[in-house]
């Protein structure tokens, strides 16, 4: 099948979703009111609460939610063929992610821009809030560990990307200083920054840096993981304006340019999908597609992490309530498009079916490497860029995203430890350096505990990360559903995705439990049990909260 046709079908379906379904949700379910005074106006302080232009806000929301996860997830999941991944990304974006992200903004805006965590406490109950905190901690833990493993793998497989990936940090540092000291205007700095980044990408293939397979008894992979955490720890302690802010900015620019290049090359080349629609001959050890597909692709179809962004920063800056549809729903569509690009690169970017099969020789193989190699093949043949440069470009795109997420993730994890220090009155835990050390320690434990001493098997926890992320999404959907029940509005548009997610998550956890047991991996077994317990608690909380709300409504109705 032609990749362009599939692309058009996907984009067309998402466009219909935005123009028809999100309009229906906005008018009939959330009933947005253009005259509602949003928290950005009500509490305007020029700091957190600032009414912001909706296009700017969308740009922010999108670059905050889009990371390496919508690339890694779909690129792993195409092992079952392109059709399941494609269908889940498209329908997930339309009926799950859009409604979830949009709903999280709406729920937060209607409740003084509180975060989903605080809303869970207010709307559902104290118990649910405690579960929420645990789930958030687990998500952050896994995201940091998994992304370190992903970047380390990229550094080992694509040595040409080492110089640009680390060089990008210096570019960001210089940009940060230039803006801070107002050396040049921002548009000029942006142009210079992008030129510098792409110059580095051009230089990369000329000066590849290959980490030796073994250094001081440790594998190259493990060394990279240690270096990455060392960097992330330092970066997360620096003031945000110094590194994180310019890095995020330049990443955002690079995301748009990278997506444009990839989509442009795809349209010009119009490659054929070499992978089968449904892979009947999956490698041994590949778990069952249902339910694992729905947790392997989290970001790109539905992801709880978006709810945190929606309710944390976006809702405080929403100018008009009606903007929530564009920012939230279209933000999810943007992420769906990124996931779609990843699916197409990982299935159409190979010369023959045999090449593709070699790449996907086992579950968890392929993944981001398939995205980079497939995407490079498409860019090389479509736009004529040298293949090594194209591969470096995509590697840098994925690695920079994962790196920024690690930086933010570690920072957030530090805050959680500091908060616990506050709650349990542990002075030492409140110190930034010690809290960061704790955060890094737990992540390293997971990165090495999951996959052995060489750290290369850390991707085993990817589906486990997906389940935790989906649980978070489930909790957000629960908050929205309870609010809808109390407003006497139809609840099925959020309750149906919620039930589907919970069932798939619990099934996936049970299947993984058996796998870890058979493998004798006690560490992951325990982690799986913790997540499973959280999932069951969330399910029970859902049933209880909905029963309670309906009873309240019935009593009021009489």
């Amino acid at each position: 099948m032609s990749a362009v046709i599939l692309l058009l079908i996907g984009l067309g379906a998402m466009a219909l979703g935005y123009f028809l379904y999100s309009k229906f949700i906005a008018q009939k379910i959330y009933q947005l009111d253009p005259d509602f005074k949003t928290p950005a106006h009500e509490f305007e302080d020029g700091i957190d609460y600032v009414p912001t232009n909706r296009f700017v806000l969308w740009g922010h929301h999108f670059t905050s939610v889009a990371g390496a996860a919508p690339i890694v997830g779909p690129a792993i999941a195409v092992i079952w063929g392109w059709a399941p991944a494609f269908l889940w990304v498209v329908f997930g974006t339309i009926f799950f992610a859009g409604v979830h992200d949009f709903g999280a903004i709406w729920a937060s805006v209607r409740n003084k821009a509180k975060s989903v965590g605080a809303l869970t406490g207010d709307v559902v109950g104290k118990r649910a809030r405690s579960i929420f905190m645990i789930v958030i901690f687990l998500v952050l833990l896994m995201v940091n560990a998994v992304f370190a493993v992903v970047i380390a793998g990229l550094m080992m497989n694509f040595p040409s990307a080492v110089v640009p990936v680390w060089g990008a940090i210096f570019v960001a540092l210089i940009i940060g200083q230039m803006i801070y000291r107002r050396v040049l205007s921002l548009p000029m700095v942006s142009v210079l920054g992008v030129i510098a980044l792409y110059a580095l990408i051009g230089i990369g293939p000329m000066v590849p840096i290959q980490m030796p397979a073994e250094v001081a008894g440790m594998s190259g992979n493990a060394i990279w993981i240690l270096i990455l955490f060392g960097y992330a720890a330092i970066a997360s302690l620096l003031p945000v304006w110094m590194l994180l802010q310019p890095r995020d900015y330049i990443n955002g620019l690079q995301l748009f340019i990278g997506l444009l290049i990839l989509y442009g090359a795809l349209v010009l080349l119009n490659p054929t999908l070499v992978a089968p629609a449904f892979n009947s001959n999956v490698p041994a050890g590949t778990p069952s597609m249902i339910p694992l597909l729905f947790v392997t692709i989290a970001c790109g179809a539905i992801s709880g992490f978006h709810g945190l962004v929606s309710s944390g920063t976006t809702s405080k800056q929403l100018n008009k309530e009606t903007d929530a549809r564009f920012v939230g729903y279209f933000g999810a569509v943007g992420e769906g498009m990124l996931a779609l690009a990843a699916i197409l690169a990982a299935t159409a970017g190979f010369a023959t079916f045999g090449d593709w099969q070699t790449m996907y020789s086992a579950f968890g193989q392929g993944g981001v490497n398939a995205f980079v190699e497939g995407g490079a093949f498409i860019i090389h043949n479509g736009l004529g860029l040298p293949e090594a440069t194209a591969a470096t470009l995509l590697t840098v795109m994925a690695a920079l995203f994962a790196g920024t997420t690690m930086d933010t993730g570690l920072r957030l994890q530090r805050y959680i430890f500091q908060e616990w220090g506050d709650i349990y009155n542990q002075q030492w835990m409140k110190k930034p350096s010690l809290a960061t050390a704790l955060a890094v320690g737990t992540c390293l434990l997971l990165a090495f505990g999951a996959g052995g001493a060489n750290g290369s098997g850390g991707l085993i926890i990817w589906p486990l990360f997906g389940t935790t992320n989906q649980l978070l999404a489930g909790l957000t959907l629960l908050v929205i559903t309870v609010m809808l029940v109390r407003l006497r509005r139809p609840m099925w548009y959020t309750l149906a995705p919620l039930c589907f997610l919970l069932v798939m998550t619990i099934l996936a956890l049970l299947i993984q439990l058996r796998t870890f047991w058979n493998q004798g991996n006690m560490f992951l077994l325990v982690l799986d049990i913790v997540v499973l317990m959280a999932a069951i608690l969330v399910a029970m909380e859902c049933a209880a909260a909905l029963k309670r709300s309906r009873a309240e409504m019935a009593a009021q109705g009489d």
Binding site: S185, L186, P187, P246
Partner: protein, 100 residues
């Protein structure tokens, strides 16, 4: 350098200038909007420390620069109330220096 001697070129340049202004507005918004809160909080933390230095002598903490910081006190008076409430003190901590 602005050259307003002829009208025609300036009218040609106007849309370009407007466009540049727009570009600058959007890039600056995109750059700062997400981190405005975090940076403002960091700045406030530094300001809080500065407040403590300026008012330290009044709370019995010896300050070698007291002679200079005394001059700053009237300037910081406006922020004094916010500061002591943020520091967890409901009323002014200074006996001879009431504010609320």
């Amino acid at each position: 350098m602005r050259d307003d001697s002829t009208k025609a070129p300036s009218s040609k340049r106007d849309p370009l200038r407007a466009w540049l202004r727009q570009a600058r507005f959007f890039t600056e918004e995109v750059y700062s909007a997400r981190y405005r809160g975090a940076i403002a909080r960091a700045r406030r933390d530094e300001d809080d420390l500065f407040m403590l230095l300026v008012f330290s002598e009044m709370m019995g903490i010896p300050n070698p620069a007291a002679y200079y910081t005394l001059e700053l006190q009237p300037l910081l008076l406006e922020r004094f109330h916010d500061w002591h409430t943020r520091m967890g003190m409901e009323h002014s901590p200074l006996d001879h220096f009431r504010c609320c």
